[in-house]
């Protein structure tokens, strides 16, 4: 009995270690390279430690520009996406209108077409509309990837606000808009926060579309990362990878509670 209990405990610890190595191993291994002078197989440790690669990144004007571009485009895209999609999310949750379900599924169905295959004709369209190498063009191409997050998750969040709470507000003399602002919105906020976060990550992570529309005028961190991997020493790419992960990890810490609490999962069940 005792032995089997110990055995089970040991098994789960070994499993845990395997999963931990599988998930975190590549990240830590990569991160370690950012501080290594050089690293040759089969040594487990680098030959020396240095901050040299960090200065390489920070002194390269092209790389610095991409950091700035990323920090400019992603918040802008999230803002645009929120303005366009949040009212729609509310409508999907609280209004019955013809085509509601078809639209909801249609928004998702756009993900089924492989992005790569889309870019050929998308390029033609963007040229035709004079959106190539423009800020608007980049925002639009990044916006596409945020729509599902920004409509589905908030729609579920709005739906989870009991109607009685809204009715109580109307009964207390508040109009429709005031009710939305003072009751519905604050209660749906965790879900909206998750949507904002997922949209930020989707936009921050977007590389192919941004490259297609923005390159070579506007390079963002992920698009720069593609060429970086090929043209710079591994350590520079590692430094850049750490920089690229900082916003995401910061957001992870902020929204961990809500995401693990099922807000994200809730959003993907059509109502």
């Amino acid at each position: 009995m005792r032995a089997s209990l110990f055995g089970r405990r040991a098994t789960s610890l070994v499993l845990f270690a395997l999963v931990a190595v599988f998930i975190l191993g590549p990240l830590l291994w990569l991160a370690a390279h950012a501080f290594a002078t050089s690293w040759t197989y089969p040594s487990l440790l680098p030959e020396g430690l240095t901050f040299h690669w960090w200065s390489v990144v920070f002194s390269d004007p092209q790389l610095a520009a991409s950091v700035k571009n990323s920090l400019y485009f992603s918040p802008l895209t999230v803002l645009v996406s929120a303005i366009v999609c949040l009212p729609a999310a509310y409508a999907f949750s609280r209004f019955e209108f013809p085509g509601r379900r078809v639209f909801l599924i249609g928004l998702f169905a756009t993900n089924a077409f492989p992005k790569m295959g889309l870019f050929v004709s998308m390029a033609s369209l963007f040229y035709g509309l004079h959106l190539m190498n423009t800020i608007a063009g980049i925002v639009i191409v990044q916006f596409i990837g945020t729509v599902v997050f920004m409509t589905w998750i908030p729609a579920a969040a709005f739906s989870s606000v009991p109607r009685a709470l809204e009715e109580a507000s109307r009964d207390a003399g508040a109009g429709a808009f005031q009710t939305f602002l003072r009751v519905t919105l604050p209660l749906a906020l965790p879900g909206i926060l998750v949507a904002l976060l997922m949209s930020f990550l989707a936009s921050f992570d977007e590389a192919q579309g941004t490259y297609l529309v923005g390159a070579p005028v506007f390079m963002t961190m992920p698009t720069e990362m593609y060429s970086l991997v090929l043209n710079y020493p591994k350590q520079v790419a590692a430094v850049f990878a750490i920089l690229l992960s900082i916003p995401s990890v910061a957001l992870l810490l902020v929204a961990r509670k809500y995401i693990l609490g099922g807000r994200l999962a809730e959003g993907f069940q059509i109502r």
């Binding site: 009991p162 009685a164 709470l165 009715e167 109580a168 507000s169 109307r170 009964d171 207390a172 003399g173 508040a174 109009g175 005031q178 003072r182 009751v183 604050p186 209660l187």
Partner: protein, 391 residues
């Protein structure tokens, strides 16, 4: 035995015909309210008139349309037809925020992101009242319900009874022309329910707020209402004082819904009656009540009329079934159900089950005897036609 004509042959007095009083101002007038949802008529020409300061309960089984009616009065649902007038003002076409009514919701609907104080203050802040006035009025309301010590608590951190009171405070702080209570006690445990309902009644009377309450609990309805409106299938069956609803149910539905009731067919009543010697005359017509017994004018029970026709029922309250032990009697005591201050006795009258109430010494199971029915109601096609009282 006397039969007297019921004053309640019509479920509701037609509007306008009633209220001969000098004061024509009514707290609430609902007239002809009708609502169909999904092809089904949920509420069917509902009429109700409340005096200012009166508390009327809408009572009925689930699905009878009482909640739909309340939601139409509150303005959450637009009626298909009919009007709602509060304090003399027609509010039928107004949204809930424009009506002078305030509602206490079944699950209280307190906003979890606001403190109790802010919940109660909400109706005043949306009206942009000055801060000082808001504070005074909120604290007054909280004091009325005895919740000042929880002003800064979140709804999730107070008990069910306290949440109920916070919801009540949020309603009365608006000084509403009409207070609406939607099953306000259904989420409280039995003991608390009795206490809170008395508090609600006390506050309602003190502030003299015209109030409509919805409940499916008849004990609750009878205990705190000025009048009770019993609903069934979207229609009002009877509106009357609790004692009248209990003593003289206007329809066979009300008779069986309110309290405990023996409902018998004419044949069954006859069977019960044959077991007893006195109290009513011989059954010459085949009915339980002999021709020539005193009946008031306009009484539908006419001499020689057969009583055991279809659609005729008789209702007897257990407390009007008097059991007398008599060895060898036709009626047998089947079961004894002690209730504390009285005993309910299940009797077997030749295969027919009859319930009686005994206040004194209880008989024992297997005892035999006979019964006297001291008060009987007669219904034809569900409507009360006569009440009979043994003298």
């Amino acid at each position: 035995m006397t039969l007297e004509t019921s004053r309640h042959t019509l479920p509701v007095a037609p509007l306008g015909a009633a209220s001969p009083s000098a004061d024509h101002r009514a707290g609430l007038v609902v007239s002809g309210l009708t609502k169909s949802l999904g092809g089904r008529t949920i509420v069917d020409s509902f009429d109700l008139r409340l005096r200012p300061g009166e508390l009327v309960t809408l009572l009925g089984p689930s699905g009878c349309g009482k909640t739909t009616t309340l939601r139409m009065i509150a303005g959450f649902l637009a009626p298909d037809s009919g009007t709602v007038t509060i304090d003399g003002r027609d509010v039928t076409n107004l949204g809930p925020e424009k009506r002078p009514s305030a509602m206490v919701f079944q699950n209280y609907a307190l906003w979890p992101h606001l403190t109790v104080f802010k919940n109660v203050a909400f109706p005043l802040t949306v009206k942009r009242l000055p801060k000082a006035e808001v504070t005074t009025r909120v604290m007054n309301a909280l004091e009325t319900v005895g919740l000042t010590h929880h002003a800064q608590s979140r709804p999730a951190h107070i008990s069910g009874g306290e949440q109920q009171r916070a919801a009540l405070a949020r309603a009365i702080v608006q000084e509403p022309g009409l207070l609406l209570l939607d099953e306000p006690l259904s989420n409280l445990d039995a003991q608390l329910r009795v206490r809170v309902r008395e508090e609600i009644r006390e506050i309602q009377q003190r502030l003299a707020i015209t109030t409509v309450m919805v409940t499916h609990d008849q004990e609750e309805a009878l205990a705190i209402s000025d009048r009770v409106a019993v609903m069934n299938g979207g229609r009002v069956e009877q509106v009357d004082a609790p004692s009248a609803v209990y003593a003289t149910p206007a329809t066979s539905f009300v008779a069986s819904f309110i309290g405990s009731m023996n409902v018998l067919t004419s044949a069954e009543l006859d069977r019960v009656r044959h077991g007893r010697a006195e109290a009513a005359g011989p059954s010459e017509t085949g009915g339980p009540f002999a021709a020539g017994e005193p009946l008031e004018a306009g009484e539908p029970l006419e001499a020689g009329e057969p009583f055991n026709a279809e659609g005729e029922t008789w209702a007897v309250r257990p407390e009007h079934v008097v059991f007398r032990p008599a060895p060898g009697g036709p009626i047998e005591v089947r079961r004894i159900l002690p209730h504390g201050h009285f005993t309910e006795v299940v009797l077997d009258a030749g295969g027919l089950e009859l319930r009686a109430v005994v206040t004194g010494e209880a008989p024992r199971e297997g005892d035999r005897g006979d019964v006297t029915l001291t008060r009987v109601q007669h219904y034809r096609d569900g409507l009360l036609t006569a009440s009979g009282e043994a003298r």
